[in-house]
């Protein structure tokens, strides 16, 4: 086996958190049976919502395109199983914390019949990268690490830059979540295969597969697989178990010791980061022609009777999954989609699993940390901030609604990891404040842009009215002049005619 190597890069701050993952990783991945009804939100990704192309009553097959890419940024959506479209309506979705959003509802027929493949495509390494990217685009594949940025567009953007390394992110640093860990344990072949496809699509000769040091089983499985594949472009790396080393920019820093600039992308420093789950999804699509219609999700927390990792079809409701995992325990109080640090608490378990759902967390009541006290400027938050911001200053400016200083102190670079909240001795909910402040900044920018547009339109209209007025005046003057010029001649003509008449 290939031995994983450690690296040079250092992460500023970060924290060692209690991981609480063992209950989820103790068991294999269970496949959840296809439920009677699937609910597929049309906004599951960054960019424009997909545009439904099916009608109510229409029969669809597993893997059939039901909503297509709309605009430049977005991803198509495929039917997760065969059945009948029964509604296109608003349904609670996790993205809106349980408030309704537009969804396509499929009543499954239990046959789970897949759409037939028109032809066997040639092996991926014989295709030019552009064709391969177009194929990836049609698979509805998005970043499965949580950001759900459309993968094909991310690759296309990277192809316009100078890229040195592909980095596969297997650093699942947030507590409770273990879906990537079990994926790497059980599907190492797909992960490595996906890495090879990605390298071909990008024309790269270097790929780091990065895993946290505490995931020894996954590291072994990947190393064995890489020995079998014998591809010396692939390098397995491990990073220390510190939250949030799995953040995109943090990982680039750890692995290559290059710092992603403020407001920039990893491609600015020659790197492209993809989640291991995304790589496996690309493998499934290219090799087995299965678009992104299912994903591995961790269902865990002390509010769940049998925590586990499940492979669920996109559109299965959280309630179905909870039932599969033995139901809620007596202490269940709070439902969170995502991890405890960055997840969103939702109001109802009717929300479906979407491409972004890496974890369903059910917790008992969290003991209140105590009342919020004034900031004592201890600076602990600055010490743990992985982006090297000064949360205590930002908090100051956020309270004062001082947009200029919030920007100059880098609020927009905050990754909302939640470390500052945890260390704050005054229990100030800093992350929530920063999230609100970011929203406020965006709002102000929108308002400004709107005002600017209105001003331009107002000025353009005034100019146009002036122009029209001038044109009218000119025309009037012209008519007057013409009349003046033609006047004497016309009068003479009339007089002449009159004289002639008088003579007759």
């Amino acid at each position: 086996m290939t031995a994983p190597t450690y690296d040079l890069g250092k992460l500023h701050g970060g924290m060692r958190l209690p991981l609480r993952k063992s209950r989820g990783t103790a068991k294999p991945i269970y496949e959840i049976p296809v439920p009677g009804q699937l609910v597929l939100p049309i906004e599951q990704h960054v960019g424009n919502p997909a545009q439904p192309i099916v009608g109510i009553g229409e029969r669809v097959l597993k893997g059939q395109l039901i909503a297509e890419l709309d605009g430049a940024l977005g991803a198509p959506i495929h039917a997760s199983s065969s059945g009948k479209i029964v509604a296109i309506e608003r349904w609670p979705i996790s993205r809106r914390r349980g408030d309704p959003g537009p969804c396509i509802v499929i009543e499954t027929d239990g046959e789970d019949r897949a759409i037939e493949r028109a032809d066997t495509p040639p092996p991926f390494d014989s295709l030019p990268p552009e064709t391969l990217l177009q194929i990836i685009l049609q698979g509805g594949i998005v970043g499965l690490g949580g950001a759900v940025f459309p993968t094909a567009q991310k690759l296309m953007q990277a192809n316009t830059c100078e890229i040195d390394h592909l980095i596969l992110n297997g650093v699942e640093c947030e507590p409770y979540i273990s879906c990537d860990d079990v994926l790497m344990r059980e599907r190492a072949r797909e992960v490595v295969g996906g890495a090879q496809i990605l390298m071909h699509a990008l024309g790269l000769e270097s790929c780091f597969i990065v895993v946290e040091s505490d995931k020894s089983v996954a590291l072994h499985k990947l190393a064995d697989e890489m020995t079998d594949v014998k591809d010396d472009r692939l390098v397995l790396k491990q990073v220390p178990t510190i939250y949030p080393s799995g953040g995109e920019d943090q990982l680039v820093q750890l692995v290559t010791n290059r710092e992603v600039p403020s407001g920039g992308l990893p491609s600015d420093v020659g790197c492209l980061v993809q989640n291991v789950g995304t790589a496996a999804a690309i493998y499934d699509w290219i090799h087995d022609h299965e678009p992104l219609i299912s994903r591995i999700t961790t269902i865990t927390g002390d509010g769940i009777n049998q925590p586990m990792n499940v492979k669920a079809r996109i559109g299965t409701t959280v309630a179905d999954i909870v039932n599969f995992a033995g139901g809620y325990s007596d202490v269940a109080k709070q439902l969170i989609i995502g991890g405890p640090m960055t997840g969103k608490s939702v109001s109802t378990d009717d929300v479906p699993i979407v491409k972004a759902t890496n974890c369903v967390l059910v917790l008992s009541e969290t003991p209140s940390p105590g009342p919020e006290l004034p900031c004592i400027r201890c600076g602990d938050c600055a010490a743990v901030c992985p982006v090297q911001l000064l949360p205590q200053q930002l908090f100051w400016y956020a309270c004062a609604d001082d947009e200029k200083h919030m920007r100059s102190y880098g609020l927009t670079d905050c990754i909302e990891c939640g470390c500052c909240d945890l260390v704050c001795p005054s229990h100030i909910p800093l992350t929530a404040d920063f999230r609100n402040a970011k929203g406020r900044i965006r709002e102000l920018a929108d308002e400004k842009a709107r005002a600017e547009r209105a001003r331009r339109r107002f000025e353009a209209r005034n100019e146009r009215l002036d122009r029209e007025q001038q044109a009218r005046e000119q025309e009037l003057a012209q008519q007057k002049a013409d009349a003046k010029k033609a006047g004497p001649a016309a009068i003479a003509e009339i007089l002449k005619r009159k004289q002639k008449r008088d003579k007759d």
Partner: protein, 166 residues
């Protein structure tokens, strides 16, 4: 002795002359020219072009504030925020709004079933946000509407109403 006095007088006189010249130059060149100040004031106004201030739009109001000493509390859409910013810029005292209005953004909406296509609202709109032709249905481009309400009064069939969106 006298020479020393003369030297002192001349030196101080020369310094005074230089300083005087410098100051008169500065007083002519340094203060923001009116145009620039109007631009700055205009930037602080919300650009709804609603004319609720009594002037024909945001820019005319800015002009009036700068050159005619118009009060700074005549802009209901801008609210107290705008008044504070104007007060800061112009070194005036912040006064409360002359005619307060609930905060938030609204847009006008045409009940298209009732519209008779008279084009009155179209010519009233200060930002050209209404499309429509004579005797054909009109509609409002929501993203461009500033919610100024100027289209509501001219409508002969009262089919335009204001809807809050935020």
């Amino acid at each position: 002795m006298m020479a020393a006095v003369w030297i002192a007088v001349l030196t101080v006189g020369a310094i005074a002359l230089l300083a005087g010249l410098g100051l008169s130059y500065a007083s002519r060149r340094l203060p923001a020219s009116d145009d620039k100040l109007v631009e700055q004031v205009n930037d602080l106004l919300p650009q709804t072009q609603c004319a609720q201030c009594g002037y024909a739009g945001c820019r005319p109001y800015a002009q009036a504030i700068v050159s005619a000493g118009a009060p700074i509390n005549l802009c209901p859409p801008g609210g107290d925020d705008t008044i504070h910013r104007l007060a800061e810029l112009l070194g005036k005292e912040a006064v409360s709004l002359a005619d307060p209005q609930p905060a938030g953004r609204s847009v006008a909406i045409i009940d298209e079933a009732l519209c008779i296509g008279c084009t009155h609202c179209r010519s009233a709109c200060p930002v050209d946000a209404i499309v429509g032709a004579h005797q054909l249905m009109h509609t409002i481009i929501e993203s461009e509407c500033t919610g100024c309400e100027l289209c509501i009064a001219p409508c002969p069939v009262d089919c335009i109403s204001l809807r809050r969106i935020a």
